[in-house]
């Protein structure tokens, strides 16, 4: 391992230098000739009938090129459950419902035109609480389902029910049991670059969508389904990504504004750009899915978990995006975080007239882990076991197969717990109270792909030109995670060239092979494996050429020398050393004989062989190789069981807090973030993932919350939405555990999401240790802390 030139080194992000000079082109910066600007008019009510829409004034405004309502375009249904149309007609079901859209020559004119659209509504009763929405007689959010059949309830037809082992047996085996209700709320992904796209049709109605999605081929799939419904079946769709200003889940689904830009472009025959304002980003972009859990766990006298039973209710909002599928990821911590033999998990998603939800970093894992880790602490206390010891007893081990049938291979869980113990000085600090306390929480997450679609493949193409320069066509998306650098390191290592020889192209469906998406912390693992394999193929092509040309080149050199110097005697070389491609290798741009790497004659620059191979004496040849890596994993079966990832990440966060009992403020004194990453491909970049995720996790734990009152987002701006700033100093101490993963590229596993997952529950557990009250509802705001302290005082 140690002889790697690039892998495992903190190679700087030089390949991304455009991001520090203002040259990087984000969707905000993109313009197309003749481009128009689209704006969306949203609903005024959370639930209402549309009585009439009058667009005549808007249409007359100079500079306006198109005004569309739901009455002007086909009724095509979109979304995960096909439960909405692009522009809404007849009924609006949430404040962000798109009622009309305008294309104009400037964003200002488009906005003004939106103001001129007159919509008459008749308000309908709304339902804003999932428990209310489940009651009989509650107003129905949808009167009919996607197929037009009348609905009876607001409960979504999604079968999230998991059963393994026998809960009753688990109960019988328990010496201690606990029950808790915990809840999490809406949080916004807060990408610094807001949502946006440009739709452009050519003369033949083929679409190019300039975009920033992290699932470029998923986009093609969804848009082609839409095309089939609107008379554009078979038309080609090309997604071209700009540089992505953060993603964190927001670019997983194809959002309604994208379909609107397509409709406006179709209507006007011009490229149409829609770019969200920050206010829209808060009001009209689906946030993280909130959830309420009833969790019950038991353990025997020795502290071994006996069962875990969880019922979750998810406020789905008015329509369905990926938020409703977060239970598929919740299942992972529910069934497989710690060894637990008997598991029941059920999630009920309920329509309300609130904002609907989607993915955010970690998918449902942060929510679910908050539930599990809150319960782990209360159970440890009930059993009279130190919470850290309790977790150590129940930790996962390499070689385990979990109730969900996840096959645990590399697993540095024990090291992570021990790291927290040592770095936090756990034994000394635990239980001292007086406003200072320690807490911990752990995580499991997919780290070797996630088979959520039939193919979990990732395609990559590597071509090498006659100068030894390498083009890598990547099917993934760089959303800031550092892939341009890490994939460059891997390609440089695997092919034997230097990072500066390599260019990468991301996010263009016309160039790239298929990819399941840059999600689920899968990119380094999947693209890394694909890159290594493609590079091996390309390398073999180069070495085949070398076998053909090396002897000629070497002998030619001797001949020339001899012409210059008649006394020169051609050395007697063993050309057998370079007669077989297997005997050759490439490192740092040089081809050499493996058996004698320092041979004075058998070393030749790659570029020389490549030029000779293309333009020299032999048959002209180019070097290009591709690989489509699809790991040997399983899709979840009907019971939601299956080994969906080739490996899993583990980690433990330990937090020390100081709680001001007068103000209710929680201050993080220390946050140890220990992560099993397989192998650090680029230690500096890896730390960036851990720091960033930990910070977002602290926000989730302490400050962040979209305040939704009767369906309306009350804090749609940074001023009122409390994302952490540089002044919120959180001393994060990362600990990188590197057991090496035999299936990972150079031993690496995914790490993008994990850092966020255990942070909030670790904080909650530390707050309990500090002041003896447990906050089970995120975020842990000063108000909640004070209220809990007060309640405890009342009880005493």
């Amino acid at each position: 391992m140690s002889d790697h030139l690039f892998v495992g080194k903190s190679v700087p992000r030089t390949i991304e230098a455009d991001k520090v000079t203002g040259r990087a082109i984000y969707i905000d910066d993109m313009k197309r000739p003749g481009m128009l600007y689209g704006k969306i008019l949203y609903s005024k009510y959370a639930h209402a009938k549309i009585k009439s829409i009058d667009t005549s004034k808007a249409e007359k405004l100079p500079g306006v090129r198109a005004v569309l309502t739901g009455y002007d375009i086909p009724d095509a249904r979109v979304g995960f459950l096909k439960d909405q149309t692009v522009l809404k007609k007849d009924v609006v079901r949430q404040f962000r419902d798109e009622v009309a859209a305008v294309a104009a020559i400037s964003p200002e004119i488009a906005e003004e035109a939106c103001r001129l659209i007159e919509v008459e509504y008749e308000q309908l009763p709304g339902v804003f609480d999932p428990f209310e929405a489940m009651k009989e007689g509650a107003p129905l959010v949808h009167e009919v389902d996607a197929r037009g059949r009348p609905t009876k309830s607001n409960i979504l037809p999604l079968p999230w029910k998991f059963n393994a082992g026998d809960i009753e047996q688990g109960r019988k085996d328990s010496a201690f049991t606990v029950k808790d209700t915990v809840s999490t709320t809406w949080v916004n992904q807060c990408c610094m670059g807001t949502s946006g796209c440009i739709a452009e049709f050519d003369q033949n109605n083929n679409l190019t969508l300039y975009n920033q999605t992290n699932v470029i081929f998923g986009h093609v799939g969804r848009i082609s389904e839409y095309f089939a419904q609107i008379g554009l079946k078979g038309k080609k769709i090309r997604i071209v990504n700009a540089i992505v200003g953060g993603s964190f889940g927001t670019k997983l689904d194809t959002d309604i504004y994208e379909f609107i830009s397509i409709q406006l472009a179709l209507k006007t025959r011009k490229p149409v750009k829609i770019l969200f304002t920050r206010e829209e980003e808060f009001k009209a972009l689906p946030p993280r899915q909130p959830a309420i859990f009833d969790i019950e766990q038991g353990c025997d006298k020795e502290g071994n978990l006996t069962f875990r039973k969880v019922e979750a209710v998810l406020d789905n909002g008015a329509y369905t995006s990926w938020g409703a599928t977060t239970p598929s990821v919740m299942l992972m911590p529910m069934s497989s975080l710690y060894r637990v033999p008997n598991v029941f998990f059920q999630a009920t998603c309920v329509y309300t007239n609130n904002i609907y939800c989607q993915a955010m970093r970690g998918y449902g894992n942060p929510q679910a882990t908050f539930a599990v880790e809150t319960s782990m602490d209360t159970l440890a206390e009930a059993a009279g076991i130190d919470p850290l010891e309790f977790r150590m007893i129940n930790r996962n081990h390499p070689g385990d197969e979990t109730p969900m049938r996840l096959k645990i291979t590399s697993c540095g869980f024990e090291e992570c717990i021990n790291a927290v113990k040592e770095k936090l000085n756990w034994s000394e600090k635990k239980g001292t109270k007086k406003g200072r306390g320690v807490g911990m929480a752990s995580l499991i997450h997919v780290a070797g792909g996630a088979r959520v679609t039939r193919s979990d493949g990732h395609g990559i193409m590597v071509k090498v030109n006659e100068f030894g320069q390498v083009d890598v066509i990547e099917s993934g998306t760089d959303q800031g995670q550092g892939s341009p650098t890490v994939i460059t390191q891997i390609v440089a290592e695997a092919l034997g060239v230097r990072p500066e020889d390599i260019s990468l192209t991301f996010g263009d469906t016309a160039l790239a092979l298929w990819d399941a998406g840059t999600h689920a912390s899968r990119h380094t693992f999947m693209a890394g494996n694909a890159a290594i394999m493609a590079c091996e193929k390309a390398k073999r092509q180069i070495l085949d050429m070398a076998v053909e040309h090396m002897p000629k080149i070497i002998k030619g050199g001797f001949k020339r020398k001899k012409r210059k110097d008649p006394d020169f005697v051609e050395p007697d070389l063993d050309y057998g050393l370079i007669a077989d491609p297997e005997d050759l290798d490439i490192r740092d741009r040089m081809i050499f004989a493996k058996k004698n790497p320092d041979h004075p004659h058998f070393r030749i620059p790659v570029s020389q062989i490549l030029r000779e191979g293309l333009l020299g004496s032999g048959e002209s040849k180019v070097v290009v190789a591709e690989e489509f890596y699809d790991p040997p994993t399983e899709m979840l079966d009907r019971e939601f069981k299956g080994n969906l990832s080739q490996t899993y990440a583990f980690g433990t966060s330990g937090v020390e807090v100081e709680v001001d009992e007068k103000t209710g403020e929680v201050k993080i004194v220390n946050l140890v973030a220990a992560h099993d990453v397989g192998k650090a491909m680029n230690p500096t970049l890896l730390l960036g993932q851990i720091y960033g995720a930990a910070y977002t996790g602290v926000g989730y734990g302490l400050t962040e919350e979209i305040k939704v009152v009767n369906g309306r987002v009350m804090n749609p701006g940074f001023r009122d939405y409390q994302m952490l700033t540089a002044m919120d100093v959180v001393p994060v101490e990362p600990v990188v555990v590197e057991p090496g993963d035999e299936d990972g590229p150079y031993g690496a596993k995914g790490v993008g999401e994990p850092g966020l997952v255990p942070t909030a529950p670790a904080i909650a557990n530390a707050v309990y240790d500090a002041i003896g009250v447990r906050i089970k509802d995120l975020p842990i705001t000063p108000e909640k802390v004070l209220a809990a302290l007060k309640e405890r005082g009342d009880v005493c």
Binding site: P12, R13, T14, E16, A17, K19, V20, T21, G22, R23, A24, I25, Y26, D28, D29, Q189, C190, C191, M192, G193, T194, I243, V244, G245, G246, S247, F248, T277, R278, Q479, G480, Q481, G482, T684, L685, L687, G688, Y691, G692, A693, A694, Y695, T696, G717, F718, R719, M723, L724, T725, A726, M727, V729, V730, V732
Partner: protein
């Protein structure tokens, strides 16, 4: 729409622009001069993605009325690299220390850092943090940005 003509210095060059009077400095930089390095992250002075230097001070250009720029000197991220095209030490430090991830906040971060280091070549961590208090970043958790600015300060000395 009523227009205004303004003359000022932009990245060392004397420039004049005639733009609608309602435009901000950010809009003028991005639309008129096609300098798109400064970003609009919020448009209302809350995120710092639009930070540029005006007469030596880091400001939110999204709040800066264009008519107030008359006679002043503006430096944007595009004007930061050395004349030979090599990177300014702050830019270099951001690359080396992973102070940049998605990069959307980066132009603003770097300009705030420049605003600080021009006045205070040896800032403490607290001073670095306050200088970017108005610059939001979702990717990095600020840690490596603070380290990058510290690294740049040491190089510049």
């Amino acid at each position: 729409m009523k227009k205004v003509s303004v003359s000022f210095t932009l990245n060392g060059d004397a420039v004049t622009a005639e733009v609608p009077v309602t435009w901000t400095l950010l809009k003028t930089l991005r639309e008129h001069f096609e300098l798109t390095g400064a970003k609009e992250g919020c448009g209302v002075g809350e995120c710092g993605a639009c930070t540029v230097i005006v007469d030596g001070e880091a400001v939110n250009s999204c709040l800066y009325p264009i008519f107030e720029i008359e006679g002043k000197s503006v430096t944007t991220i595009e004007g930061l690299a050395n004349e030979d095209g090599t990177l300014n030490p702050i830019q270099q430090a951001f690359l080396e220390n992973n102070g940049v991830q998605c990069g959307f906040c980066t132009s603003g971060m770097i300009m705030s850092a420049k605003g600080l280091l021009d006045h205070n070549p040896e800032p403490t961590e607290d001073e670095i943090r306050s200088s970017i208090a108005g610059n939001f970043c979702r990717c990095t958790g600020y840690v490596q940005i603070v380290e990058a600015i510290d690294m740049a300060a040491k190089t510049l000395k």
